[in-house]
């Protein structure tokens, strides 16, 4: 039981990270049907920006907030000046462009800040060895609780935005029927730009959480997390925000259980394979995911 709880708590915070990145993937996918391969790297750059602001003297949390806003504005620009013009030519080109962004951003971070080794990042939550709550013999670390709370706040804010605001209604309308949205006066372009901004801002928070847990920022910090987030979005359904949260948490817990109980077969090294297996299994059994919209084609 103690072991189980320990893997559960560890999985919960790992899953919260996946969920934060998966939320970004889903927000963009809902609006335009594009899978943004750069979502993880956008979060990585944002974590660097947060680290940089903190280095300039901002308090750690304020630095995260400012990095989020920076990411929001920058991603709106990326949508407007790169993704949209390319999307007019071919939807496939957008995938290539987002892979290009992935590679470009990965190269940009070490170049822009002239650092090639991981840089120390000040923890956002109490992270001393003694900062934990003991439940059923297992240690629930306070920083892990913190990450889960951050996810809860972000998910709650997104829920209110999508369900209770006029702009949220417009975002849902564009996701449901992009051809009809302009007919009621919704500016589809504006909605898509804001979707990118929102995805990047949520991603920035995710990136900062990763940096805080690792204790440093590094160009490769989001690689495996991004693919796990894609697996989480696949599991939850690409167009479902609730699915992204559920998928992320489930995958995080599942991964930790598998790695924990099968240390010889899977272990920490092969943990990433779990994501791949989940992607394949979902695509084979239920391609729309658990919460995704099943498209019915009338012929």
């Amino acid at each position: 039981m103690e072991r189980f709880l320990q893997y559960f708590f560890d999985g919960l915070s790992q899953g919260s990270i996946y969920a934060l990145i998966a939320l970004g993937v889903v927000i963009i996918y809902r609006g335009s049907g594009h899978l943004n391969f750069a979502q993880g790297e956008m979060a990585m750059i944002s974590a660097f920006i947060a680290w940089w602001y903190a280095d300039l003297g901002l308090s750690p949390w304020l630095a995260v907030g400012v990095a989020s806003v920076t990411a929001f504005v920058a991603a709106m620009g990326i949508e407007r000046f790169i993704i949209r013009p390319i999307g007019h030519k071919s939807p496939f080109a957008v995938v290539v462009a987002s892979i290009g962004l992935f590679l470009g951003m990965n190269a940009l971070a070490p170049f822009a800040w002239k650092v090639t080794i991981p840089q120390a990042y000040e923890a956002l939550f109490p992270d001393k060895a003694t900062d934990f709550v003991r439940i059923g013999g297992a240690e629930w670390r306070e920083q892990n609780i913190g990450v889960l709370l951050v996810l809860a706040v972000i998910a709650g804010a997104l829920y209110l935005l999508f369900q209770r605001t006029r702009f949220g209604l417009a975002m849902r309308a564009v996701a449901s029927n992009p051809e009809s949205a302009p007919l009621v006066g919704i500016r589809t372009g504006q909605v898509l730009a804001v979707s990118w901004g929102l995805a990047a801002a949520v991603g920035a928070v995710g990136g900062a959480m990763v940096a805080s847990l690792r204790g440093n920022v590094d160009a490769s910090m989001m690689f495996t997390i991004f693919f796990a987030a894609v697996a989480a979005a696949t599991l939850g359904g690409y167009d479902s925000l609730i699915g992204a949260v559920f998928g992320g948490i489930t995958l995080g817990i599942f991964e930790n259980m598998v790695a924990g109980y099968q240390p010889d077969v899977v272990g920490q090294e092969l943990k990433g394979v779990v994501s791949l297996v989940v992607i394949l299994a979902v695509l084979l059994v239920r391609p729309s995911g658990l919460f995704g919209t099943r498209r019915v084609e009338r012929v």
């Binding site: 209604l169 417009a170 309308a173 051809e179 302009p182 009621v184 006066g185």
Partner: protein
Amino acid sequence: MTLLLDVRGLRAGYGPVEVLHGIDLSVAQGEVVVVLGANGAGKTTMMRAISGTISRHGSVQLSGDETVAKSPDAIVRAGVAQVPQGRGTFVDLTVDDNLRAGAFTRRDGEIEADLDRWYGVFPRLGERKTQRAGGLSGGEQQMLAVARALMSRPTLLLCDEPSLGLAPIVVQELFATLAGLNRDEGLSVLLVEQNANLAMGIAQRAYLLETGTIVASGDVDELRKDDAIRKAYLGY
């Protein structure tokens, strides 16, 4: 009579293919005008050109204001609402959210009152307020598409083949509603239809569109008397 919609030399199409070869058409304030034409005549293209969702050339004036270079949302704000072919409802949203989306351009405080009003006109929608639009029947979805368009408080309603795929009784009900809105509210309607008999029943004037060109126009009573038109469009 003041012209609400004045279209001159309208050309439009998709990429290199021109579908509309310069059409002239008008709708007066308070008028119901129907455009008849076979499949592929360019009826839907004409509607899209007027609502600004495809690129077009020529002149489209709304109460004297040129809208041919305006974006679709600006045209909605200017008072034109389109009921697209195939209804185009937001199937993942509830009926209520569909109607609220219809009021997206409005910022006045009477949106709730308008919701109640259209639920009164279309009681079936009121009963299904919280259901997803995708679960409605074809007729209910068409009602929803019309109500959604009306939520923007348009001065001109564009209806693209509202009878498509609906049972005859539902079509009659729908046309009676449109006629009632025109009679009681003075709503101007530009209607595109293949069901010429019904459409001419509620319209004052009609145009015939063939392969992207207007080939005849006039009061519906006059057009009914024309033998060629009667045979081709009215089928008797």
